[in-house]
């Protein structure tokens, strides 16, 4: 069974630019989560999809962040426009119902 994959692994952009991160969950996992870890701090929840629906987006920092999961398969997280404080590692995780979350390797975003 393939794990959660994320693309790109690294992204370096200028402040004000747009970046789109992609996550492919484990096949058959209806639940998909986005998390972020900033500057070695705790890993913070951003949002949770159940299939294509946003179940909980209480962790999204502001309206510069837009997450989608069309068709209930892969998900994208767009940051537009990016700010310096958006730098960090963005993790995606997936799970079946009532099971542990499996994490991808993360995308390291650096905003200059």
């Amino acid at each position: 069974e393939a794990g959660v994959t994320q693309f790109p692994s690294h992204s370096v952009i200028e402040k004000g630019q747009t970046v789109t991160l992609r996550c492919d969950p484990i096949s058959g996992h209806d639940n998909l989560y986005w998390y972020r870890r900033v500057m070695g701090k705790e890993i913070k929840f951003l949002l949770h999809f159940v299939k294509e629906s946003k179940q909980d987006e209480s962790g999204m920092p502001n309206n510069r962040f837009l997450a989608e999961r069309t068709g209930g398969t892969y998900s994208t997280l767009k940051v537009q426009p990016a700010e310096l404080e958006d730098s960090g590692v963005y993790f995606c995780a997936s799970s079946r119902s009532y099971n542990e979350q499996f994490f991808g390797p993360g995308t390291r975003l650096t905003v200059l």
Partner: protein, 113 residues
């Protein structure tokens, strides 16, 4: 306001000895707790979990203890092995396994050969 706290940023333990990692939480609605292990450049990997109805769960060399009255949990690794060197995150959720996880800041464990 950090709801899950890991007050030790790092811990060094001799190979073969016991490693004890601690975690405290403040939210009394948390009822499911997990430990994740993270190597550099990789995502967190699930290690072991415990429901609030239990006070201990064991899986091989790993045991998690939960003290609900103290809002404290700990992860014991015995015997510690060099491959256990990683960052360990404590996490909690308020619905069994299917809701957002609230993480601590992690403890970097180094096993000294």
């Amino acid at each position: 306001d950090q709801q899950v706290k890991q007050n030790s940023p790092s811990l060094s333990v001799q190979e073969g000895r016991i490693s004890i990692l601690n975690c405290d939480y403040t939210n009394s609605m948390f009822d499911y707790f997990l430990w994740y292990k993270k190597y550099p450049a990789e995502g967190p990997t699930f290690l072991i979990s415990i429901s609030s109805i239990k006070d201990k769960n064991e899986d091989g060399r790993f045991t998690v203890f939960l003290n609900k009255s103290a809002k404290h949990l700990s992860l014991h690794i015995v015997p510690s092995q060099p491959g256990d060197s990683a960052v360990y995150f404590c996490a909690a959720s308020d619905v069994f396994g299917n809701e957002k996880l609230t993480f601590g800041t992690g403890t970097r464990l180094t096993i000294i050969p």
